[in-house]
Symmetry: C2
Subunit: 224 residues, 2 copies
């Protein structure tokens, strides 16, 4: 029973890690499609989101089977419940990469971004990819200290996002309202992607330690 | 055992319904604070989000206790697992109302919205309140047909949101980039609020019928 639980739980953790990895690489390609107005890449991200959605369903089914067949208790039960919650976060990370790719596709052959903000998105993309890889690592290793560092990585994203808003709000913004609307939504998508990665870290900390990191500085509360 | 399960599951469903109701009334007041530049109302929504966050934690703990003590199987297990997933959706609905209130507070004593789009937000607010009430009803009654109607209510939100974007993108938009950025984010918050209500409906359909409504028209895929 115990061996079966361990094996199935390891499989579930791997699957969640794989999903986080896929979300990170989707965001990498979505960012390139955005920066280079590359329609093929954008289409690829859009098509491949189906794979993430499939894996979400598979992960939910596996977690359900684990509960039904192994009836885990205490820490084991906490791991499975956290797994169910984490599915929603990594699925959403994939969906946010999809949203970025859809904007790139909608504006093609034009570039979505005014040149002035390319650097921000290149950097936000880099951090998002790193957060996807970190989330994958944290899901596979369950290292709570590594999980806590996700929050630090997210701070760099928040800083960039705040700066981006000052650029947008500046009277010197010369690119019109339509570009500002796209930049606003895109900035939000990257920031939410990072928030979900942090949330994965918080869930892993909870499943290992039994304590949820305090909510005071949780990404839930960030408004823009 | 069975009686205990039923009682605890009813309690959990009531709690989730209460959260959806609170999220709806938070969005109602957030919308008023936005339309009337009412700081007191905005502050109230911001403070009262703590209550929703508390109830989220309580609901997660109760669902966990149900799994640990009752070890439910089959349909009962599905109900509890769906409950855990629904917590995240209703919590997020509350957080989105909070975001709206924060924007109203940030711009106070100014109005956030150009008069031209007030009507859109009054109507999106009305639909959001209705969606909160519908989600509450669906959680309490578990009526799958009622749950399916959440999607229709959401269509009205999507239509408004699309129209709002055409207003923003119009060359006649005279209110500058800063107002456009706020309107973009706010529109997104209302739309996401509605998406989460629809997701609650899908989860209830799943827990009653054992089948998830097809993902093809799921709100997950909406990009802006």
């Amino acid at each position: 029973m115990r061996a079966a639980y361990n094996e199935q739980m390891t499989d579930l953790a791997k699957l969640l890690g794989e999903m986080a990895g896929l979300a990170g690489s989707a965001m990498e390609r979505a960012t390139q499609s955005l920066l280079q107005a590359d329609l093929t890449l954008a289409e690829q991200v859009i098509t491949e989101y189906d794979r993430i959605a499939e894996l979400s369903q598979l992960a939910e089914e596996r977690a359900f089977a684990l509960l039904a067949l192994q009836a885990p208790v205490a820490g084991d039960l906490r791991s499975v419940v956290s797994g169910i919650q984490i599915v929603a976060d990594v699925d959403r990370m994939g969906a946010l990469a999809l949203h970025v790719a859809k904007i790139a596709r909608r504006r093609h052959p034009n570039h979505v971004l005014p040149e002035e903000v390319n650097g921000y998105f290149a950097e936000m993309g880099r951090i998002a990819v790193q957060l996807g890889a970190s989330a994958k690592e944290v899901l596979e290793t369950r290292d709570p200290e590594r999980a806590a560092r996700l929050r630090e990585e997210d701070e760099a994203m928040d800083d960039l996002h705040r700066h981006l808003f000052t650029v947008l709000m500046d009277r010197d913004w010369k690119h019109g309202v339509a570009a500002a609307v796209d930049v606003t939504l895109l900035g939000r998508f990257y920031e939410r992607f990072a928030d979900h990665a942090v949330e994965v870290g918080r869930r892993v900390i909870f499943l290992v330690t039994g304590k949820m990191p305090t909510d005071a500085d949780a990404p839930l509360h960030s408004a823009q």
